[in-house]
C-alpha cells in the first residue's frame, strides 16, 4: 500500500536528512514512528502526506508511483490521507465546526451530511459546546482534539499523526488512542510519530525507528506473539 524504496531527501543544497529509507506499510497496519529529535521524523511525515517530493528514490502510495503522478491525481491521493500536525494548523478564522468540516467540503459532500457527521464527531471528542468557537479561544488540548477530528472526519485510508496526544490529559489521550484503534480496525493505516515511551509501551504496535537518516522497524514481542497466534 505505502512503499518507500531507497528514498532520500535533503532541503536545498544541505545534507541529506533522510537517506536510503526503505519500508512497506500494509493496509490496515498501525505503526509508531519514533527517534531522537532531529532524526527526520517530520521530514518523513512530510514525504508521507505528500508535502514534499523526495530528492531520490521511489514512493508508491495506494499502488501508484507518486513520482510520475499528475497534480490532479496527487490531490486525489491527498484526500485519502488524514494528518494531525504537531502545531495543529487550524484555520484561525474558521470555527471548530468549519475546521472539522473542511475535508468533507473539499470532498464535495452534501451540507446535511457534513453537519450530521461533524456534530457527532465533535460531541464524541468532548467539544460539543465549542462548535462555534474560534481556535484561538480554545485551549491547546481542545485545539488538538479539533485537529484530530479534522484528520479523521473523512475516514482516511492513511492517518498520519505527529505527537497527537502531547497536550492531552491521560483520559482524553486514551480516548483518542481508542478512536485511532477503532479507525485502524475499520481498515485505516495509521502512523503516529511520538517521543512517548509510555504511549508506545501501552499500545503494542510495531515501531519505525529513525536514526542517522535511516529507518529500522522493531516489533514488540507481544505484538509478534499475537500475530503468530493469529496465523495459527
Amino acid at each position: 500500500m505505502i512503499k518507500f524504496e531507497h528514498v532520500g531527501m535533503r532541503y536545498g543544497v544541505g545534507p541529506e536528512v533522510l537517506s536510503d529509507i526503505n519500508f512497506i506499510l500494509e493496509p490496515g497496519s498501525f505503526h509508531f514512528l519514533t527517534g531522537p529529535s532531529g532524526a527526520g521524523k517530520t521530514s518523513l511525515m512530510n514525504l508521507m502526506f505528500l508535502g514534499r517530493k523526495p530528492t531520490r528514490g521511489l514512493i508508491s502510495m495506494f499502488d501508484q508511483n507518486i513520482n510520475d503522478l499528475e497534480r490532479a491525481k496527487l490531490a486525489r491521493i491527498r484526500r485519502r490521507i488524514g494528518v494531525v500536525f504537531q502545531e495543529f494548523r487550524l484555520l484561525p478564522h474558521l470555527s471548530a465546526f468549519d475546521n472539522v468540516a473542511l475535508p468533507l467540503r473539499i470532498l464535495g459532500r452534501p451540507e446535511r451530511e457534513i453537519r450530521n457527521n461533524v456534530n457527532e464527531l465533535l460531541e464524541w471528542v468532548g467539544l460539543g459546546d465549542y462548535m462555534k468557537s474560534l481556535p484561538l479561544t480554545l485551549s491547546g488540548g481542545q485545539q488538538q482534539r479539533v485537529a484530530i477530528a479534522r484528520a479523521v472526519i473523512g475516514r482516511p485510508k492513511l492517518l498520519l499523526a505527529d505527537e497527537p496526544t502531547g497536550n492531552l490529559d491521560d483520559e482524553i489521550g486514551l480516548r483518542l488512542m481508542n478512536l485511532f484503534d477503532q479507525l485502524n480496525r475499520m481498515g485505516t493505516t495509521i502512523v503516529i510519530a511520538t517521543h512517548s515511551q509510555h504511549l508506545m509501551d501501552k499500545f503494542e504496535h510495531p515501531r519505525m525507528v529513525l536514526g542517522d537518516g535511516t529507518l529500522k522497524i522493531n516489533a514488540p514481542k507481544n505484538w509478534i506473539q499475537k500475530k503468530i497466534k493469529g496465523v495459527f
Binding site: F49, R52, R71, A75, I77, I81, L91, L94, L134, L136
Partner: protein
Amino acid sequence: MAFFLPGDKKLGVATGRRRYDLPLNKSAGTGFLVLLIALMTFLGVMALAGSFALGSMAHHWSSGLENKLTIEIPADDATGTIRTREDIEKLSESVTERLSAQNFIRDIHALSQTEIQELIAPWLGEDAENIPDMPLPGLIAVEFITINDHLIEKMRADLANIAPNIVIDRHESWLADILRLTGALQFATLLTTLMIGATTIIAIAGAVKSRIAIHRKDVELLHLMGASDRYISRQFQRHALILALQGAAAGAAAGLLGLLAISLFAGDTAAALLPEFQLNMIHIFTLAALPAAACFIAAATAKFTVLRELALMP
C-alpha cells in the same frame, strides 16, 4: 434547525456566514482594489467614449462630403481688383446655370450671403453681418452623381470661360489631414483603453499574489488536505469578482455621469465647430459591456495568478 442562530456574532465565535475557507474578505487592501477597479473602469468609459466620438465625427465628415465639391468665386478677380457683391452674384448665377444643364450633376446650390456669414460666424462672431464692406467670396455647393477626375477637369475648363480664377475645392487636402488626425486620436484612445486593461490585470495579479503570500500557510494547508487547484483558485476568483463588481459598477456610474457632464457643459461650444455626435446602440452596448469586461478580467486574472502560484507547490 439552523446550525447558527441569528445574532450569534460575539468575540471568539464564528458567524453563521461562512463564505470563504480563506479570510480573503478581511485582507488589507480590499478597499484599494475596489477603488483601483472603479478608477480603471471610469477611465475606460471615458477613453472608449472619446474613441467613439472621434470615429463618429470622422465618419460624418467623410460621408457628408462624398461626391461633393465646392466652387469658390474669389472675392477678387485675376488682376487683384475686389469684386462687388453684385458681380459675385452674377458669376454665381452663370456657374449655376452652366452646371445645372450637365447630366452628371445631381444637385447645385449657390450659398446666399447669410449662409456664408453663418459659416464664418464661429471665427468672426455674430457681428460679421455688420461689416458690409468685408469682401466675401461666392460659394457654390455641387453634388455629383459620381465624381471622378475627368469630370472635374472638364468642369474646370468649362468654368474658366466664366471666370479664370474660379477655385474648385474637393475638400481632399483638409479632409485628409483631419481624418488622419482623428484616426491618430482614435488610435490613441483605443491604446489608452488597452493600457488601462493591462494596468488592471497587473494590479489585480499583484493584489492576488500578495493575498496568497499573506495566506500562504492556509493555502498550503488546503493543498495538503487534497483541495484541487480549482477549489483554491475559485475562492480567489470569487473574491476578485465581488470586488470587481463593486468597483466596476461605481466606475461605470461615475463614467456615465462624467459623459453627461461633458455633454451638458461643453455641448454648446463644441456644436458650432464639430458635427453633431450621438452614441448609437453598438456604442452604448460596448460601454455597458465595459464593467462586465472589468469583472471578467479581474476573475480571470485572479484564477490564472493563483493557478500559477499553486503550480509551484509540490
